[in-house]
Symmetry: D2
Subunit: 401 residues, 4 copies
């Protein structure tokens, strides 16, 4: 996991890694440092009372949001920190990796669990590193490429949308397996769900273009009130990285640069508000997170993940009855992010990992083409504010009929 993070940063210059593309995003260098801080703060410094920090001031700089750990640098000012240099951060990464390798054999079970959490934490930042670079590069009129990639859209046509029927059921949801899961996926609990229908694949660029062409962004009746206000205030006219009217109209900006949109690929970089408006326009709705999980329970973890090097959503193969649940695009659900019944946060500072954000955000499921495959599972709950557009988030429809 640690070396994969380094490989994601490899195509970038020190200057690229310095840029903070928005107050919600972080510089690549900060991601590299923060994920390292996690291990020094929560493992090395706690395991060995005589541990000497690489630089104690870095605790302040690279703490993200853990109040229990202490004060921290202002989030929106992360891009100001030209020091420590990238070279210093990379050396720190190597040093902490070595110290971890030395320490791990002697860690007790609780500490080993934190190490495991640290690797999953780092995988989350791998995805954020890419979404944040995409945002930074998109803000540059020169529109740099992060990596080479296919120039032409696939010739494939998307499989026709089909509806999969689910009976009413009282089902056990959430994680109760032996492997790793975040605290917000627990405890497992039973919920009465359905009946409902779920779309066999995500909404495509071509389908979303019909919504745009039909005045989707100009019809208040399709939108939640907050969504309508956001769309008007920010002058949304299409998904975040779609080209403007004119010669760029049919393009999308990706980590492979600006290129012609693939009409058959899943639409991405839409907010929850846009996903919700699309569903209303279509005469459908978004699935709840339970409906989504019910469908995913039986599906194999196949899809287009970051390991493929194809850093843009791709059309589905059209083989499976329910396609692309995993990978390609995160799927916005109709479920506000809230605690599961009898939810318990982790003890100590790590209790701040998930619980304190259970407010004002929506759940997304399934993972994207920027997600590491082994980071995902059917019970995984991602969450973002309803107006967020810089994540690789798309739409899967559900219906009651």
């Amino acid at each position: 996991v640690r070396s994969f993070t380094n490989s994601l940063a490899a195509p970038l210059s020190p200057e690229d890694m310095q840029v903070q593309s928005s107050p919600d995003a972080s510089p690549t260098k900060w991601h590299l440092a923060h994920t390292t801080w996690f291990f020094e703060e929560f493992v090395l410094a706690r395991f060995d009372p005589s541990h000497r920090w690489r630089d104690a001031r870095w605790r302040f700089l690279f703490n993200s949001y853990y109040d229990a750990v202490g004060p921290r640098h202002a989030r929106a000012a992360r891009g100001q920190l030209s020091r420590p240099s990238l070279a210093d951060v990379m050396a720190w990464r190597a040093r902490v990796d070595e110290q971890m390798i030395s320490a791990m054999p002697a860690l007790d079970e609780a500490m080993a669990a934190i190490v495991l959490l640290g690797t999953h934490h780092e995988q989350q930042h791998q995805e954020l590193l890419l979404t944040d670079v995409q945002q930074a590069f998109a803000a540059n009129p020169i529109e740099p490429c992060y990596a080479t990639g296919p120039d032409e859209p696939s010739a494939a046509e998307a499989a026709p949308l089909r509806w999969l029927d689910y009976e009413e059921s009282l089902t056990r949801f959430g994680d109760e397996a032996d492997g790793f899961a975040f605290d917000n996926e627990r405890p497992a609990h039973r919920v009465l769900v359905g009946p409902f229908r779920l779309a066999s694949r995500p909404v495509t660029n071509s389908e979303f273009a019909s919504f745009v062409a039909d005045g989707g962004y100009e019809r208040a009746e399709l939108w939640l009130a907050d969504g309508w206000a956001a769309a008007k205030a920010s002058e949304w006219r299409g998904p975040l990285y779609w080209g403007n009217a004119g010669e760029d109209a049919a393009t999308v900006f990706t980590l492979h640069g600006r290129r012609v949109r693939d009409p058959s690929a899943p639409v991405s970089h839409v907010s929850f508000y846009e996903a919700d408006a699309y569903a209303r326009w279509f005469g459908a709705r978004l699935p709840t997170e339970y409906e989504w999980e019910l469908a995913a329970m039986g599906s194999s973890l196949d899809g287009n993940f970051v390991e493929s090097g194809r850093l843009a959503p791709a059309p589905g193969a059209g083989h499976a009855p329910c396609e692309q649940l995993f990978g390609d695009v995160w799927e916005w659900t109709a479920s506000p992010y809230a605690a599961y019944p009898k939810f318990r946060t982790l003890d100590g500072a790590l209790g701040e990992y998930n619980g304190k954000f259970m407010n004002g955000q929506m759940v997304l499921r399934g993972g994207s083409c920027f997600s590491p495959r082994d980071h995902l599972r059917a019970t995984y709950r991602n969450f973002f504010p309803p107006g967020a557009r810089w994540q690789v988030a798309g739409i899967r429809l559900a219906s009651d009929e």
Copy 2:
């Protein structure tokens, strides 16, 4: 209903009714006009194609948020409208009442349903009228009184907090009765709930003061991240209308003026964030809206409502096993405001009544001392953003153990 609105405005001067106390609140005069607009817009003008508007420009001024009806005056600028005058608005109210009385015998069932909706809509504005006046008077250093009231707190001591146990059950929630209910209470549907415990009464001023004294507003670990940010940004140090440190420390500002707080009365004018933080401090949690409804199903609709003229929460009598579910204070629940399964909005413009706000808000249940009694029921879903403090909102605890 219509004349009760007038009686609520009676103690106020034309100037009092002109003031808009915050962008979220409205002047009394606007409430008087908007509730009248509702009947002219949705009943009179639709029932009679030859209907002549009292003043067609008022459609623009007093439309609240119905995009389907047309454009409207900016919400935050309602306090700028010195014209039409209060006298004009009161004459309009009388005229519309007369026209409604003439029209009602001939209305069809659908139109009659809108009339009924209009009365419940007006009751909602009766409560808002009072909360908005309280906010305006509180912002005035002179702190005017809206009405005379008891000067001294009750001598009563609050009943000890007890926990009521509920077994796990698969229960049908939401409205399916013949009477009136809002669309957001429907359709009725089954949910698996519990087991859980519910507090026998709301949290009191005295109990909340212990939270404050224990540093509740200074301990980040008790708060949701957004709540902590709001509390720090707005320098919250106690519920909205509690007096500042010094000679006012033990007071609260009410529609009866500033007076010594009743330690046994339910705490009110707290945000969801404060309710949530209090619950965490106590070692409990807030109930979900289903848990609350389960408890309320069997309770009689007793309590302290606006009709009593006692415009501040009062201590419970201590008789019933589960007290003050209705009246006194709205109770924040842990449930984000979302659509019930198979929810359908009303047709036409009135479809904007509730559905488009199902985002970013929390459900409150039970009604307050500002609510008309016959406006309430066990299935009633009120909703406000989690940071809202100017409503008469308090706290009831729940627990898993």
Copy 3:
């Protein structure tokens, strides 16, 4: 002076007098109260140590900006104060007038000077009362009238623009007369001015319309950088109260209601930025305040003032060589508002009257159709921020050639 203020308020309802039209403006009721506070605070309470305040809390409410007097109510929240009522304020005015009449015979010279200052202060608020009502009424889609007035523009054509030549001179400027003048007009001092040319009359609506038609609001090269930013940010397309494109295009909103613009009348309600851009477009410039004063020294104090009841700028008669220096519209000068050499503020709290605002504002000269005639003189220095548009401010050109 005191009764004239009352007469200006007479056409307004209590609700009209409650409205604050912008954070920079004040409600009529506040003007009525603040001008009364001035006499109670600076004369009555200081003259008589045993003086009893009408209500000591009103010192906080109606202090405008005197830090030396103590804390005060937030300026932007003046419109929130429904109490004291208008009736209370009018009774206070009468009471203070009576107390002043009793006290005046015994006042010493210093105190008498403050009384005189108080009347000139009140005249300033008479003008502000009208500009603030105009702003409030303009913000109301109903566009109420403050007073009846001529419905049709004058048939008169404006006199042709002529240039008056001034030789270089070393002239003494500022006030050194025996009568009243503000501290910022003193001390008199010599300045080397000229040679220059001054326009014989202000710029007319018709002339300014040519600037608009020539793309004046779309050509960055005509504007100061801050002015261009303000024009774009606020979407200025013409003077503040000019009608929008469409059927209102040839209208202007005045205290007599919306009516067809008089092409021969001076343009008004433009900011310094617009005045400066117009001058640049014309190939001229704005006069300095010294140039303006040089021209005004020899002019009689004739013009269109508030006493006429004609509350909109009117065309000049075309008789005098240099017309309308006084009345009709304040004239923006090229002079930043700064202290005259050896300027001394008044002693005590009244030292805050003018001096602390000598920063970031521009000087205007001459008075407007909202100004009382006997409030004005050739040395009078008015000042407003360069972006202010709600004052009755227009343009007179100057040139070096």
Copy 4:
């Protein structure tokens, strides 16, 4: 000039040069590129119609504020541009330098004047480069050093403050020499000045500390209204880079790192508001720009400039009657930045160089320890908004008595 810019950037890493420390400041890399753009845009591309731009998109990125040249990248987003890389920018600098060397022999007089302007323009950016780096490093909790420097304050004690007397005079100000001067220094013109007194040296750190200790930042009566509002809103408690209370209290952050303040050195990094408040506290005032220029006319251009490598203000030697007029700290004057009589902007796009900023700013005179010596002269007019603190600006007192 061009190679000196490079030498100023030499101590910085690519990441240091990427950071934008505030919306008003620019990254070092941007300064390096913009000064190069100046020569390609205004000389090379105009001189040779067949000139090929290094990259035509860079015209958009590195145009600062010239509307006549075309649209441009948002100022506040300059720190987002990780591409072009520093290496690309340095190669561009070399290429443009070569092209300029080839072109210069054939340039006509007008073009040669633009080349000269370009070098003075670049010197302005040399100073900004340093002020912006200082701001960026100060915002980093690690507080990096830009360059090594003296660790200890000088032992020297400041010379006692003396007052130099000036008679009233009618003097010719502004530039009329043959050498280079900016358009805003012209035309030369006569002004009547005086009598007045001018302080023999700038205010020292020690003297300013007395103002702070005397409650200077807590006494509204010492401040302009806008200054007081700025001081309270931004919680100013001392000059920008002075250490906070506690162990840092006697320190200042400089490009040589944080170190003990030199009590005898001129105070720096104060706003006009603070300079004005200090002067009022002292019982003096700030000089006008004409008073300052009168004193500087006869002074030799000696002082502490950027070439010395001593990048912090230093105590004066105490030899000359009027010391440190040049170098060490820019001196705020009481003069708003305005056009001189008969001021004419340059033709074309370069007319935007100075004229459009003649609004809302104050004139500073004399240059600082970050200024190149040969960039300065007695007629030089620098200007910044009255609240700006990140420039090396200090205080010299004047008086009427």
